[in-house]
């Protein structure tokens, strides 16, 4: 992509490690060595094996250095990733097999290494498991290192001064070795928040944004880039105004984070002891550790669509069971809410059909009810993971009462099928629904009569209520989460739930917006499920207010007639009650 020189460009990705910094970019294109298949003569075998052993020794030396550095910076538990890589180098079985093949097949060392290690990599990739895929990346990392050393390519790790590394992807060892050279941030086109590199960046306290898709094509070495690891974006050629805004944000966050260290262990309750269940939204089991560190009381939304990433078909009951079991055990004694597959709309699906209007089309519970086999597989997997009674089920995109009834019938059917197989589950499992379709919001009381809990999905609810696609820049300002119509709808849902004696939570983006916390507490919300990175902030607000006062704030806000008035009111309240809260401007 060509951009006019000096023009500010904002690239959006996924926040992987918090922090803000500004500096020159360093475009790191990974030296992936080219491997050619060459034949050698029997006389050359000895020399070829000698090159292999030399390269191994050099690779080991490099990795030992990285390992020592990682140990000092990250602690020995995290440094063990590199220990495994060092052990692969020292794997006598593997290296013996490679040497034997060089001698027998008369092929060059690089080719045999690549061929032999790739076999193991393929087995790992075939496991269709996020963790195994990451592990395959570690194996790749070692393979490339040996090959690069055979080809006498220098390991590039010296940078000119402090830089923001922009790369397609980063291996864990890149992440660590770069960090010796005053790295200001990592920006990558690929990768998720759960990659080893992202986890290491968080431990190293270096801001990171992943999933930027086009950063390596947009940014050039030496360009000035600002990285915002809170919002998950990078700004190329930031204007003076952007820089100042980010600097202020950084200062506020740093001051604030310094004071948050001790609240992770506290229960979220107001000064007058109203308890709010504060839990985390996650997609991958590897995020559990971070959300626990952030002080979450369980998982309020586990997006099961993560099971579909990179797959051509839906996972089997057994595959899903393994994944859900890991999460349920990992979060115990807290609970987890599994939301059944929410495919369609903007979400992935292995068998997407083209629709003119996907947001108003075949998605969420509509798909599941039309595909009973798929639905039952998932329900059985979730039920089987519920034996410790800490699992709940939630249905997305419900718009009619019949849908809940039919979905509950499917749960009963799944339970009977498990009975027939003599497999245990929690017979009292709680079943809730997302309220995100305006029709369901209007009928919230009837909906609550059929469900064990309600969770407000604000992203879709606001989009449908305001009739606005928030990805469409022309109408984006109409996506107003503090619009009085939205707030009154939320109040209606909460009151309706309470009238029927069921708890009401919120798991949309609004739940994690610090500006909304006082209002939501005042409206009587029972649970807030937020992305782990904002959890301490939201908890801090809850700990700093009184429910009684929050109710007054909510009443006053609900009587206002424009979003702007409401925002100003809430902003003045929070600045007064919790002045240390940093805000996005």
């Amino acid at each position: 992509m060509d951009t006019a020189a000096g023009q500010e460009v904002v690239l959006k990705g996924v926040a992987a490690a918090p922090g803000i910094s500004l500096g020159p970019a360093y475009l790191y294109s990974k030296l992936i060595p080219r491997v050619e298949e060459k034949s050698i003569t029997p006389e050359e075998v000895e020399g070829e094996i000698g090159r292999l052993r030399n390269a191994n020794a050099r690779s080991e030396k490099e990795l030992l250095k990285i390992h020592a550095y990682a140990e000092q910076k990250l602690g020995s538990q995290n440094a063990r990733i590199f220990e495994a890589q060092i052990m692969i180098l020292a794997d006598a079985i593997l290296m013996g097999a490679i040497e034997t093949r060089i001698a027998r097949e008369l092929k060059n060392a690089e080719f045999v290494i690549a061929d032999e290690i790739t076999k193991y990599k393929q087995i790992m990739l075939a496991a269709h498991d996020e963790y195994m895929r990451e592990r395959a990346r570690d194996v790749d990392d070692v393979m490339n290192r040996i090959i690069r050393n055979i080809q006498d390519q220098k390991l590039f790790s010296k940078l000119e001064g402090a830089s923001i590394i922009v790369s397609e992807t980063l291996a864990p060892s890149d992440t660590v070795i770069f960090s010796r050279n005053q790295v200001l941030g990592y920006a990558t086109d690929l990768g998720g928040v759960t990659s080893h590199a992202a986890i290491l960046a968080r431990s190293l306290k270096i801001p990171a944004v992943v999933g930027l898709r086009t950063s390596t094509k947009t940014v050039r070495t030496g360009d000035i880039v600002a990285i915002d690891g809170y919002a998950g974006l990078i700004v190329l050629n930031p204007t003076e105004e952007t820089i100042q805004t980010l600097e202020r944000k950084k200062r506020r966050f740093m001051e604030f984070e310094g004071r948050l260290v001790n609240i992770a262990g506290l229960t979220a309750e107001t000064l007058d002891h109203k308890h709010i269940e504060l839990s985390a939204n996650i997609e991958f089991d590897t995020e559990m550790e971070f959300s626990r560190e952030q002080g979450s009381a369980g998982i309020g939304l586990f997006r099961t669509e993560s099971q579909l990433i990179g797959r051509a078909s839906y996972p089997t009951e057994e595959e899903q069971y393994q994944a859900y079991r890991r999460v349920a055990d990992g979060v115990f004694p807290h609970s987890v809410i599994f939301r059944t597959f929410d495919v369609g709309g903007d979400k992935i699906s292995p068998d997407t059909e083209h629709e003119a209007n996907p947001f108003l089309g075949w998605r969420g519970i509509r798909v599941l009810l039309d595909r009973p086999e798929l639905f039952l597989d998932q329900l059985r997997a979730i039920l089987r993971a519920s034996t410790q009674k800490n699992v709940r089920i939630m249905f997305p995109m419900v718009s009619t009462i019949q849908e809940i009834r039919r979905a509950r019938e499917m749960v009963s059917r799944a339970q009977k099928e498990l009975d027939a197989r003599a497999l245990p589950y929690d017979p009292g499992i709680k079943i809730g629904i997302m309220i995100e379709v305006p029709a369901a919001a209007v009928l919230a009381e009837e909906m609550a009569g059929e469900a064990d809990f309600l969770s407000i999905g604000t992203n879709d609810l606001i989009q449908y209520l305001m009739a606005v696609d928030r990805d469409n820049a022309a109408v984006a300002p109409l996506y107003q989460q503090f619009n009085p119509a939205v707030l009154r709808t939320i109040r209606h849902i909460i009151d309706a739930g309470h009238k029927k004696g069921v708890w009401v939570g919120m798991c949309g983006q609004m739940a994690g917006d610090p500006l909304a916390t006082v209002l939501l507490v005042g409206l009587g919300i029972d649970e807030l499920s937020v992305i782990p990175s904002v959890l301490p902030e939201i908890k801090k607000i809850i700990l700093s207010i009184k429910y009684k006062e929050a109710k007054r704030v909510a009443d006053k806000s609900l009587a206002m007639s424009t979003e702007q008035e409401i925002r100003e009111h809430l902003s003045s309240i929070i600045k007064n009650k919790v002045p240390e809260i940093p805000f996005d401007e």
Partner: protein, 88 residues
């Protein structure tokens, strides 16, 4: 030759770190160690081999020890599995 069936008890299964611990323990003994899972067999002294075992919590593996110190190796390995590789 001794054969034993063991179960993975630690929460995260046989991931990178436990795999390293397993191979290190196997290397302390002269005896060969073969690990079998669902008709898939690997050398227990090869880290890259052990890393390919997608062994989750609750899955079972068959261990086969063969060599002069097979009994000591077997005791050490069973103990390691019981302790969940000292992971948590």
């Amino acid at each position: 030759m001794i054969e034993r069936t063991v179960t993975i008890v630690n929460r995260k299964g046989l991931h990178t770190r436990p795999a390293a611990t397993l191979v290190k323990t196997a290397a302390r003994f002269q005896s060969d160690l073969t690990i079998r899972k669902d008709n898939f067999e690997i050398n227990g002294k090869s880290i890259i081999g052990v890393m390919t075992l997608a062994a989750e919590q609750g899955s079972t593996l068959t261990l086969q020890f063969d060599g002069p110190d097979e009994e000591q190796a077997c005791v050490a390995m069973e103990d390691l599995f019981r302790r969940g590789f000292d992971e948590e």
